[in-house]
């Protein structure tokens, strides 16, 4: 069993897991921590196996939970996750043109990652930012209200940091 998780960033992963008691109710906290530590912002097969092993759960139980919750990803994502809200309030106040502007500016469709690995665009149910609709979050930072014309300047702030 040990050998199977011996690949990418294993020592770091062990450092993370040791903080969590080996109980099933720790599954979501463990998955959040592993995903946060993964440079590609997702849960790799090795992450899943490590979580299962640490919590003494069948791998299927871990996979089951991961696929249920929208914040966990099984595919690599960009450095920044853009979560754009399409709740009824945001929809009413212009989420659709905002999503369109984001797709054009990023050159990708919702659910995809830019080729440079900088952004992933996700369309989500409701962010609880209805007083600032239409709204989005980039990583943990909320923004709104936004019009399609605001998108370029907003993304530029994140692009500049990289250069």
């Amino acid at each position: 069993m040990e050998g199977r998780i011996a690949m990418e960033h294993r020592p770091k992963r062990w450092e993370i897991l040791r903080r969590f008691p080996r109980r099933r109710d720790q599954l979501l906290p463990v998955l959040h921590a592993l995903q946060r530590a993964n440079p590609r912002n997702y849960l790799s097969p090795d992450d899943l196996r490590a979580a299962a092993e640490h919590l003494r759960l069948p791998l299927a139980a871990v996979y089951d939970a991961v696929t249920f919750y929208s914040m966990f990803s099984l595919v690599p994502r960009g450095r920044h996750i853009i979560r754009v809200c399409r709740s009824p309030t945001c929809h009413l106040l212009g989420a659709t043109p905002l999503i369109g502007a984001l797709e054009r500016e990023l050159g990708i469709r919702a659910g995809e990652t830019t080729p440079d690995g900088l952004f992933t665009l996700e369309v989500v149910s409701c962010l609880g930012l209805c007083d600032r609709a239409p709204a989005l979050m980039i990583d943990e930072e909320p923004f709104g209200p936004l019009s399609p014309g605001d998108v370029g300047a907003l993304l530029a702030r994140y692009r500049e940091v990289v250069r």
């Binding site: 720790q26 249920f68 009824p88 369109g100 149910s125 209805c130």
Partner: protein, 432 residues
């Protein structure tokens, strides 16, 4: 007639204190409720809550004191307090404002609850997207521990209680209390069949109080100032104040607090500033996506549990989503239905299939493909969902559908006759 305005009790500190400094909270009387509770017996505190008439602010409106009494009198020795902070109802952001702006009020309310029901551990299940709420709560909890408001032997008593924050991971259904408990146990958030209720069989099978953030935030003042004071606020049926999140086509969106029973008209026109210049109010979705559409001739309705129930609506989260004459109700209902189809957990067939069928039927209305029988089909689907769905998610979809069809029927019929309006056309260009 009573004159209504903002009345800040839960929000009395928000924006005025630094939520990351416990001293700010203490200077304004914070933790006085916990101190007062510890001087009384747990049964006494539960009695005070019962007398206050506080009803759960998560949407169902169940009397909080009675819920606490179930747990206090339960047989199990290990008991838990769980705060439902999985706020995800569209149009709703009240719990976020409380947690970000005055986290100690929630922590104090939970500690009092723990003392009253005999629990030693509490959990706050916060939706994963609320990163700032999580950070503020964690900081507040560690400050409360340092000052002896949490931990072993609180304030020199023999009562011990501690709180842990748990982050959700993006699933609206986890706002349903038994789905939330499943999620906390490390499983997919599938609602449990009730009974048994969490008061008997909650977190890890133990007796558990599950209360909403706003409910628990009411507790410190009730204990500090008494049930009689609390009952001077609001209505006999729904005592206290309520947080009303205002959103949509309003001049001033944001969170307001007012006494229960404030007329919807006052919320929209006085506190929300009415629709933007030159526009007319067309309707309001009250209580969240799982709430009811109201027409402009229903604005005098008092915003409390009983009054809304009497007209076939619900208070729900208290959310007020206003829309003006530039909006299309068919399009707006389409957004509501897409939300439910996406968030249906898939466990029970009526909801999993029903939400998908409703999305398809609405698409036919949008594009003008069909006749009035499409609208009848929508009603039949929601009737099945109301009686046969496992949890409130599926059971409540009939409310927005039924009220939209009833109050804005002409708009649905005109789409069927003439085809899509510009708003519907724009909305269907997008995918995902």
């Amino acid at each position: 007639m009573k004159a209504f305005a903002e009345r800040k009790i839960l929000l009395s500190n928000v924006g005025l204190i630094d939520p990351e400094r416990i001293d700010d909270y203490l200077e304004r009387g914070g933790y006085g409720g916990l101190r007062a509770a510890l001087e009384r017996t747990p049964a006494d505190v539960v009695e005070e809550l019962k007398e206050s008439g506080l009803r759960g602010r998560g949407g169902a409106g169940f009397p909080t004191g009675i819920k606490w009494e179930f747990v206090l009198k339960s047989r199990g020795k290990t008991r838990y307090v769980v705060c439902n902070a999985d706020e995800g109802e569209p149009g709703t952001f009240k719990d976020r404002v409380l947690m970000e702006g005055d986290p100690h009020r929630l922590i104090e309310g939970m500690a009092i609850c723990g003392y009253a029901v005999g629990a030693r551990r509490g959990f706050i299940y916060v939706r994963g997207e609320y990163a700032l709420s999580i950070r503020r709560l964690e900081r507040a909890i560690s400050q409360a521990r340092e000052r002896g408001f949490l931990g072993r032997g609180i304030l020199g008593s023999d009562f011990s209680f501690d709180i842990e924050v748990r982050a959700g991971a993006g699933a609206y259904v986890c706002g349903e209390e038994t789905a939330l408990l499943e999620s906390m146990e490390g499983k997919r958030g599938w609602p449990r069949i009730r009974p048994p209720f969490p008061a008997d069989h909650g977190f890890r099978g133990r007796p558990t109080v599950v209360n909403n953030v706003e409910t628990l935030a009411n507790v410190p003042e009730i204990v500090r100032r008494g049930a009689a004071w609390y009952r001077t606020l609001g209505t006999a049926d729904s005592p206290g104040t309520k947080l009303y999140p205002l959103s949509g086509a309003l001049t001033r969106t944001g969170l307001v607090e007012a006494e229960m029973g404030i007329p919807l008209r006052t919320l929209i026109f006085d506190l929300g500033g009415g629709p933007p210049e030159g526009r007319e109010l067309k309707g309001v979705l009250v209580g969240g996506a799982a709430g009811a559409f109201l027409a402009p001739d229903e604005l005098d309705i008092p915003m409390d549990f009983g009054s809304l129930r009497r007209i076939g609506a619900i208070l729900g989260s208290g959310a007020v989503l206003a829309f003006d004459d530039t909006a299309c109700v068919v399009d707006l209902l389409g957004s509501v239905l897409s939300f439910f189809a996406h968030e249906s957990c898939g466990q029970c067939t009526p909801c999993r299939v029903g939400t998908a069928v409703l999305v398809d039927l609405l698409a036919r209305v949008r594009s003008g493909n069909g006749d009035a029988s499409v609208l009848d089909a929508m009603r039949r689907v929601t009737e099945v969902m109301e009686v046969a769905s496992l949890c409130p998610l599926g059971q409540s979809v009939g409310l927005p559908v039924g009220t939209a069809l009833e109050k804005f029927r002409g708009e649905f019929e005109s789409h069927l006759k003439r085809g899509p309006c510009p708003r519907c056309e724009a909305a269907t260009e997008v995918h995902a």
